[in-house]
Symmetry: C2
Subunit: 190 residues, 2 copies
Amino acid sequence: MQALKDRILSEGKNLGNNILKVDGFINHQVDPALMDACGQTFARLFADTKPDRILTAEISGIAPAIMTAKYMQLPVVYARKTKPVTMTADVYLTTAPSHTKAHQVELIVSPEYLRRGERILIIDDFLASGATIQGLVRLTHAAGAELVGIGTLIEKPGEGGREALAHLNIPIHSLAAVELTDDGRILFVD
Amino acid sequence: MQALKDRILSEGKNLGNNILKVDGFINHQVDPALMDACGQTFARLFADTKPDRILTAEISGIAPAIMTAKYMQLPVVYARKTKPVTMTADVYLTTAPSHTKAHQVELIVSPEYLRRGERILIIDDFLASGATIQGLVRLTHAAGAELVGIGTLIEKPGEGGREALAHLNIPIHSLAAVELTDDGRILFVD
């Protein structure tokens, strides 16, 4: 998606160690117009998958997921990383490595909002190693729901996430795929 | 706002101990159409305050804040509760009690996205004791920015948040103000 690529080129920063900083429009400050356009694009890309619900993970997945949900007229559930006092006693819970890999984070969804037989579309900000998304896949399967698609804003193909998810045999779409070079550049790959 | 009140009445749950569960449309699952309508309402209520940027706190403030930002054509910054690896070394940081008051949480904003002289509108999900919002106010003042308004989806007037923020002398709007009775009812107050 050209608008996202343009923004990554103008404002994204290759911080080294394969870390892309997009804090100015996705991960700390959010550009609602850009997220709205990304949501509209996901809605078009996944229209044929006919999901019943969108699933994401707090925190940075919320913005693209809610905009996609708006265009698809669906509810969006975000997996919590800590269990709030309002949540039911029995939950679906899995763990996944944090983005920095320094520790494990929990991903928790209430059975009220993820149900047997439903068609689930996952939307998140990044597809890197795919560890967070694999956690969301486990939650979906634990609920007896069916995964129908995965959409992420930015993919880092070098980290193998797409290969790790290939066995699901469902459409996986990213709006920009980046390669971060050792000399600090950001390249787009097809 | 009638659509929000209707939803609170039909799906909200008074869990006792002054806890309102709205996990089905705000705090775990989000209804994007309802959040869009709330954002449009906030944009109208705060149009005269002419903000430069919207500030919220992760996690549950993100949905209403991004929809408000969309209608006001502004960027939205969400204070992080943990410092990501992409964030600058020097940050604005404050602490606030968690919703359950069991511990303190950090609220962290990068100086890149909160700047001296800017006009800041705070949007969040709940106004209860006002502790989280007071944390956002401290971050705003630490940056040398000016607070111009505070908007929350749901206010619990019994917890004194509005009084704690009154000294700021800025408009404070909530879209629904609730009283949770000991016998499990949800009443709306003006």
